[in-house]
Structures are given as structure tokens and as C-alpha cells.
Homo-oligomer: 338 residues x 4
Amino acid sequence: MNQLKIGIAGLGRLGKIHANNLAFRIPGCTLTAACSLMQSELDYARSELGVQDLYLDFDEMLVNADIDAVAIVTTSGEHCRQLTAALAAGKHVFCEKPLGVTVEECLSAEKSVENHADKTFMLGFMRRFDPSYVYAKQKIDEGAIGTPYLVKATGVDPLKFIEGSLKFAGSSGGLFIDMAIHDIDLMRWFLGAEPETVYALGGSFGFPQFAEMGDAESGCALYKFDNGAMGIIHTGRTAAHGYHIETEIVGTLGSIRISPVPQKNLAILYNSQGVVTECVEAFPERFAEAYLAEMQEFVDCVLSGRKPNVSVYDGTRSTEIAFATTESFKTGQLVRLN
Amino acid sequence: MNQLKIGIAGLGRLGKIHANNLAFRIPGCTLTAACSLMQSELDYARSELGVQDLYLDFDEMLVNADIDAVAIVTTSGEHCRQLTAALAAGKHVFCEKPLGVTVEECLSAEKSVENHADKTFMLGFMRRFDPSYVYAKQKIDEGAIGTPYLVKATGVDPLKFIEGSLKFAGSSGGLFIDMAIHDIDLMRWFLGAEPETVYALGGSFGFPQFAEMGDAESGCALYKFDNGAMGIIHTGRTAAHGYHIETEIVGTLGSIRISPVPQKNLAILYNSQGVVTECVEAFPERFAEAYLAEMQEFVDCVLSGRKPNVSVYDGTRSTEIAFATTESFKTGQLVRLN
Amino acid sequence: MNQLKIGIAGLGRLGKIHANNLAFRIPGCTLTAACSLMQSELDYARSELGVQDLYLDFDEMLVNADIDAVAIVTTSGEHCRQLTAALAAGKHVFCEKPLGVTVEECLSAEKSVENHADKTFMLGFMRRFDPSYVYAKQKIDEGAIGTPYLVKATGVDPLKFIEGSLKFAGSSGGLFIDMAIHDIDLMRWFLGAEPETVYALGGSFGFPQFAEMGDAESGCALYKFDNGAMGIIHTGRTAAHGYHIETEIVGTLGSIRISPVPQKNLAILYNSQGVVTECVEAFPERFAEAYLAEMQEFVDCVLSGRKPNVSVYDGTRSTEIAFATTESFKTGQLVRLN
Amino acid sequence: MNQLKIGIAGLGRLGKIHANNLAFRIPGCTLTAACSLMQSELDYARSELGVQDLYLDFDEMLVNADIDAVAIVTTSGEHCRQLTAALAAGKHVFCEKPLGVTVEECLSAEKSVENHADKTFMLGFMRRFDPSYVYAKQKIDEGAIGTPYLVKATGVDPLKFIEGSLKFAGSSGGLFIDMAIHDIDLMRWFLGAEPETVYALGGSFGFPQFAEMGDAESGCALYKFDNGAMGIIHTGRTAAHGYHIETEIVGTLGSIRISPVPQKNLAILYNSQGVVTECVEAFPERFAEAYLAEMQEFVDCVLSGRKPNVSVYDGTRSTEIAFATTESFKTGQLVRLN
């Protein structure tokens, strides 16, 4: 078998997930190089993952490492520059969301991808690879709910991690850009359409610090799509019960709802509180399978020459929509997208 | 409209439920008399239910009150004697379970009913009137699960009321007679068959007082039916989450499960415990509709001359089976029923 | 006991529900008169409910019948005129929603109610009396979810009754006025606040006839409340699975969701489709208990002199908001309420 | 890192699962050899898994292959002989259930394991590694349900695969040995006790062919444990909705139920049937994670010298109990275990 040699950039929380998957759980590839700004993370890669080829500098990895592809899991601000450099260096690229921190960056990323059409580029919208979302999409494509015309998406981070949310709020781009981009991508994917108009609201009900930073702790947005369909997003940072990602797709003949109870597993407790289901804590738990499946897809696409079903344009569109949503929230006005 | 005049005997917890239904919620009848050993309960009947004809003595009510029918909701030990007297006095009879506290009493009750075949007699197996059980029976009769061949029944009282359970354990007849008789009736009803063999176990895991009285706090029984079908009962007194009545009927083409989550209502909480459903507290809450529907059925049967679908024989059979179950628990042996 | 004598106006589908409750299931009152434009409905009242005092004309009933109160369950266009006449005639009034078909009617109704402050007036927002909503409100008042800041409300009629929906669409006032008024009332009730801004969308995805009438088959609206809270409504007419009324109240410390699965009862089927819960068919099934409880509350309020917790102003506000929502849907613009 | 070299014996349905896990998803090991009676399966191992060292004969693999450990996933009748040979050849052994097809074989396997105490031996009771069961065990160990005193276990194969069930019924050892052994192990594990008495029933309700072979299509058993606890097993072969594995552990302060709805994933359909959850099809889908986790545990145990928590004695005990259960079913008598 042909083994794809991959270098990973970024070994933070999500970087470690991807690195472990690449090192141990994905047929067809070998994690041969890693890059991080932190020596301790490189030490981890060496000792835990057996990676020998280690770099403190991304560009040095591109030049020196014997790799066919890179997985970019660095901070958002680096994505655009690194994917451009990697493509220019002749590497296939898997890049975590977001594509860029501005729409301009996204458009520039599009150019890079277009200029290296022989290389595989895939963006990390992992929800499209979660078994439940894959199942929902397939059911819909089979006609199980008729024509989908409304997506209701909820994405709320756990209250438990509010300190982290507050700490990074200033640099996150704001609630809708940081949190809603996956939901935006899902709406587009399920509806097969693009939003034309958005009206968004937000507020800070438990933690006024968000408002003080000009951000919102919780927000809602209502979208009108170019085929007449509708989308609703509810996002926030204070779910007491855990990490709540729920999506409903409503069609003319039925609907599909994914994860109204964000269950930790299949066990249910009957105790003095009543009947209780414990919930997933955070994204690594909820989307473990999705992270694995998306990276497998990337590797398979590179090896087979197939195009991934998440394109660079999905990244740009989601970003544009998240910015428009933020604008509506900030101005209190309807915002029209073009 | 023809109004059935009814007298009620017994105004305890369940008696009050029936009395309120008869007084206010059942077309076709009037609650005109009431009997209780306690003056305070008679006062309640007068002031809250508007009943004018009040008795401290059951036989006196039979003789003096202008009533067509009686509802017997007294202590179990009185049932057989009272229903016999009432039928002899020419009254239609609704009698709460159990039919009698011994099999001999039940057989004697059968005789009384047979001797007054022109009178309506109905036993209070209210679960057969609960909307969910009615629905299950209808679905089964329509063939939704093919041929039913196994009933799994769970009936556990709330831990919250353990003091009452302990207080009455001595006079209750024991766990299987006190608690399992409804489940036994349901098994017979759903399977359309009679048990031939029973093996029962029991123990006292949280409250050794039950064992000290020769009783069990929790018990299980496995039944073989004369058509080859099977039945499982799990009963007990210490459900931490509330009043747990759950029944599953398994058939050759599917199964139906009733109330695996004994939900208080349709609301679900998402809080720091996870996703939580509060549960019903006790039988009045769980079976409010069933108590109403069974009494309506009694009244309708009397007025129309129709036979109730719960007969005196259902009372005898359930009692026999409960005694056989108790015998198996006490002897540790298989017990065969004839 | 003091018996309230009530006359009912309107004996259609919902009228019959109220009439049966008044006739048989509500202590403290007697249904002594009934009024309908259809002789067959009056015959029904006589034969099934035992009502002797029957009228083809509402005003005649007001003048001639020996009644203390009227229950108005006629077509929406009659409500305002009839409640005004009834109050003027010295009757207590229970009136089904809507209060009026225009905001002007509502304001006129307010005047009538204010002019007869000694009379009890109650509007039929029955959901506030549904056990699950009552429970949710109480939990929230007890602080179970902290401060509520978002209500997500879904109300979709069953696809099964689409012909009726189409037939009455022309005279219904439109989707948001016909369908969303209960959800609007619930948002106000749970949030304790009034909407300031609304943006609404709608479309006709399965049945273009709605669009042809200038109406929508399905719609969504996003509200900003005067305390910063948010509200989302999704309403429609084509739920394949049944009658779907779902409400979620999100607070700073948790949330409560009511009826995400609009279950018919507590039975669950395991069959070749998977695990299946059948759903309620329509409002009479879903809200049977609520209709009973609200009418009991009305009678109790009259008898005790207590004020109902649903006021005439709730009717006006809901109507104003429903009209503003419709305006937003029709103009495609944000609409500000004052 | 130290890499464990493993050879797998058996490449059928479950063998392929283990082989894929060993080849691609388990850090710390390399699948270097494979053995099968079928050349096509060896071809699969070469082309899909990259295994070079291939054998048609188990003993030849033991002698010639450069392996530290073997995974035995062959037909049940081979397990005992092969594990004995492998241990004698100085290999660590992972062996699928059952340990042996008779109690004598199990006792002989115990001897082999005892004679090679320096080698790691682990039996494939994968349910103990399923995340939901692991969670339940941990909750119980933390005291979440007080003292566990009853396990209710259900294990029913999908109706969809009835032809295979019928085909292999003759050689399966019978329903309780083939199907209930995992449930028996779970009862022992959760209760920390051994059964003393069993009463079992069975029947063939949809497929009389089972009865004709002296077997049962569906069966129930009730166990008394040596600490007074109780166990109930319901097993069968005709679940219309899918592969149904459900377990409830009841304790003095609460209970835990695992997978009452054997959901395929987190998606729920709302369609004309009602609210529908599709179910898992079979064990590879339900226990994918468990198969991976148990093999990871085996590898980790070998590498670290730690003892697995599933011992050879667990295999013997489960087999003894399954045989006693079968005896009770066949004789209609209570059977006491020693």
C-alpha cells in the first residue's frame, strides 16, 4: 500500500486529536513530521506518537521534512498563510476551520487552492463526517423528509468552560464567527442553498463581560435562503448540562433531528433527581468519530485523487455569512448578503 | 338521561379519588351516599362533594340509602364481605382490588356474583383503562407485534414512601400479593393465557425489616404460561426516582413498551445534572385517567347492561397466582398452578 | 355549594370540548344554556349534555337565559362583539382566543372589560393551564434555570389536516395570527417581557396555495424583547408525524423543554421501522387537560372573586405582536413594536 | 516504542474486525501474521491489511511466525485447543468467547493459563469495554446506585438475520450458551457474586424449527446469586427493530439502564409513522468501540505486564452457568449451581 507521509502543524487540544488519529488510526498514512511553537508539544509528539521529524517553524518543516501533505491545526490567524505556503511547496493540505480570519484571507486562500488544482485541499468541517450527520444527509438525499426547507441549529458550549470562553472571547472574532460557523456550513449543506438575508440578536445574560467586549454570550440568527428556505441559529456559551450541538432539518414530508439530548453514552440513570442522562463535555468527546472520519477522507482523497466534498469555497461562504451575522447583531439591522 | 345513584364505601386516599370522580366527572351517575368509619371523611364528603346521605356503617347504607350501586374502596379484608352483602341487597358493585385476601374469599365472591348475574360486578383493575395500556392492547389486537409471547412487568413503589410501606407490610399479604397483582392481571390480559408454573425470588437489600417480617423488599418472578408464553415480574418498594410501572409485551413481530421513563409530564430539564425527567410520585398521579375511565366504564356498563371486561374470575385468578408466587418465594421451589 | 350557571356560545369542535367539560367535569358549575347557529348542535346539547335552554341567537340567550356567565367559543369575528354584549348584560365571560380579529377590536374589548371590573373576564390561552407548562413555569419561578432569556417555540399543525388548513386559510388572518398567537403569549409569559422588534420569514414549500393567497405554509420569526431576551417562533401546517407543539425556555442556569416528542401516550413500539412513538393528532388530544383546567380556573375565579392570570391585555398584546409578525413577513422588513 | 507482534487466527466476520483494529487502530502493536482455513481470507489480509506472513494452519503459524501474541477468533470448537497450543508455544493469548464448548474444555483452559502465568491471557468479553458499560460500572463503583442487587439483561438478535440463526442453531450449543454468555458475565461483573440457582424457560414462537432442534428461539432465566441478589435474562433471535442489547442494574439507591433504545446514531426521524429512531443492525455496529478497546487493553496489558480484568475463570464460570441454564430450560426444573 501507498503510504501518505504527513506533517502536522499545531499540537494543541485539537492538534493532539488529529495527530493521534494520523499516527495510529488511519490506514494509508504515516505521521512523519510535526511542528509546534512549544517544545513540550514536540516532545509529546516524539515520545507518545513516535514522530522523529520535529520543527519549531512551519516553513522549515515545509522545506525539510519528507512529507506529501500537511495538516494545519494552528491558531486561526495562521491558517491562510500556512495553507498558501504549503500548497506553494507542493503539499496536499488539510486545514482546520476557519479558512481565514477575514473574508479577504478566505478569498486569497481560494486563489492559492485554484492555483494548485492538482493538490488536494480540504477544510475541517468535521460535522459533515459525524455518523449522525452523514446518516441525516443520506436520508434526506433519499427523500425521507421530502424537500428540506428549514434548518434549526443549536450550538452551545458548556458552562463548565466559561473561563476559557471569556479568556479567548477577545480574540475569537466574536460569538457568531467563533461558534456558528459549523452551523452555517450545515445549513448550506442540508439546504443546498445560500443565505440572502440575516437578522441576528445577542446578549450577555449570565456574564456581562461578553457585552463589555462588544460580544454576546448567547445569540440567535434568522436566515432567508436564496431558494426560499429558512435557517435559525441559536448559539451560546453557557449550557449547564454540557456541550449542546443539535440540528433539525425540516422538510415537506418529515424532519430529522440530531442529538436533542447530547448524551455521553447509552447509559441512563434513575435516581433521586428522576431519569437522568449525562451529557458530553466538549467537542473532542462529541465529535471523536467525526475527526477520525474527516482525516481518513482527506487521506483517501489524496491517495485516490478524489475531490473532498468540503471545498475552499465552503470556507469562504461560511466566513462571509458569519461576518454578516455579526454585522446584524452589532447594528441591529437586517443584513443582505450578495 | 338516566342517572345511576351510587354510594361509596371507603374515603381514604383512593376512596377520595373515586368519590371525586363519581361526584364531578362522570356523566350518567350521581354520588348520593357515602360510608366511612371516620366521621372526618364523612364531613369531607358532605362539604367537598355535596353528599348528603352519610353512614358510619356499610350495611346501614345498603339498607337505607337510595342507591343503585356501590363502589367499594375499603380495606382489602372487607371487600369480599361487602360485595356479597351489596349484591344480596340488589346493588350493582364496583370493587377495588383485591377481590379477597384469600383464595377462598375470592371463590366465595365468585359465587355471589354468579348468584346475582343480573347485577353488574366490576373489579378495579384500573390499568386496563389507562390510555397507554388501552392503546397497547388495541395495537396488539390489530396485530402490530404479531403473537405476544412474553410480558415483562415492573412495578416499584417510590422510596419516598418507604415508611408507609414498612408500616403496612405486616398486613399487606406480602410483596407479591400487595404489589404484583396488577402485573399478574396484565400478563394474563396481554397473553390471553394462564400461568402454569412460577419461580420467585425476593430479598431485602436496603431495609432488612421486610425480611424480618418474612416478606421481601424487592422480588422477581418468572412464569410459564399454558400456551408456552413467558412472564417476568420485577416488583419492589424502593424506586429512588418515583413510582415505576413499566410493562413490555414482546411478540413475534415487534414489541410494545409502556412507560420506561415514568415521566411526570412532558417537560424535560437540562441542568447541571444532565438531561433530567422528573417522575410521577405515586399511583394517583400515574393512573388518574385510568381511575376515571374505569369508573366511567362501570357506570356505562350498568346503564347499558353491557358486561365489564374485568370479571370476578380475573380477581380470583390473579389472587391465586399471587399466592403461588409468594409460596415459591417462601419455599425457594418451583410452584405449579393448576 | 354555590353553582355557577353558564351558557355556552358555539358548539363546534372546540365548543363541544368546553361544553362537555362544563356539563360533566367541572365542580361548581352547571351548563344550563347553549347557543349555536346550527340546530343540530343544539340538538346535541340537549340529548348529550342535558342542556334544556337552547338558543339560535346569542343576544337572545343573554336576555332570556338564567345564567351567571357565558363561555364564548364562536368564530373569531364574533368574539369582540359577543364579549362586549355579555359583559354589558352583567355576565362573567370566558372567551376563546383570539380576543379580536383586529387590534382595534382588542382595544375595544379592553374598554368593555375595564367598564365591568366587577365581572370576571378570562381569555382562553389554555396552554398556560397545561400541566407541563404549569410545571415549567413553576420550576422557572423557583429558579431552576436561573434567569430565562430565550424562548424557542414550535407549533405545527398536522399534515393530515392540510385540507382544512387550506380551506380556512383565507379567513384565518394568516399563519402567524392563526397559529402563533399561543406561542407569542407563552414567550411573554415565560420571559416576563414584551417584544420590541420582530423579523419574520415564511414560505409555501409543499402547498403553493398558501403563497397564492398571500399567506405562508411555514414561517419563522425572531423577536427581541425589551429586557434583552430573545424569542424564536417556528410555525407551520405540515407536520407529518402529528400535532407538534414544543417549547424551550433557556435560562442562565439551565433550560426546560416541553414535548420535543409529541407522544400520544406512554407506549413505545419496537418494530421493523425501529423504535417508534406515535404522536398526538391534534389540539383536542394534546390539550385535553388544559381545556379542562382553564375552565375550572374560570369557574373558581368567578366563585371566589379571584382574578384570572390571563387578562384581556394578554389578548391585545398577543394580537398586536402577531400583526407585527405578519407585517414583517409581508414586507421583508424588521418591524418595531411600541 | 516497543511494538507487540501479533498473529491473528480466524478472519471471518469478527476476525476481520479484530484484524483491522490490530492492523490500523491500536498503538503498540503490529499485525504481522494471520491464519485462516480459507485462502480468500488470507488474500484479504495481504491486500487490505498488508499482512505478509500468512498461514492455512494454526500450529504452523505458532512455530514459524515471528509473533509475541495471538488473537484467536476461530470457531468456538477450536478455542480451547488453540489457546493451549499458543500458551505452550510461549505466546500471549487473546481469545474470543467462549473459552470452550464444554465445561471440561474450560477447566482444561484454566490449567493451561495457570501453567503459563507469565503470559497474558485475556478472554473477549468485549461488553466490559463498551463505553456505556464502563461508565455504568464506574458509576456503580462510585456508589451512584447504592448496592446493586438486581441485573435485568436483554439480548436479542435481529429478525433480519434469522436465516443465519437457523443455519447455525444446530451447532451453536443452544440459545443460552450461544446468546446469553455475555449477559451472564455482565451479571457476575455488576453484582460481584455468583449464581446459585437458575430457572429457565424457552419457546419457539415464530420459528418452530428451533423447537424441532431441541432449542429455543426465545428464552428467559431467573437467577439467585450467592449474596442474595437476583438476575433476569431475556434472550432471543427475533428482534424486529434490530440488535437489542439492554442491561439494567438496580441498586438500593437507584438504577442504571444501558441502551433501552438501541439507536443507530443520534438522529431521530419525525415522519408519518411518528417519531422514529432507527436501530443498530448487529454486534459489529453496536460494539465497534468495545472491540477496539478490549484489544487495546490486551496489548497494553502485555506491554505493561498488567493483568487483564477478564480472566480465564470468568470464561469457565459463564460457561458453567450457561450450561446450567440450558439444563433448566430442557428439564423444566430448578437447577442449583455449586
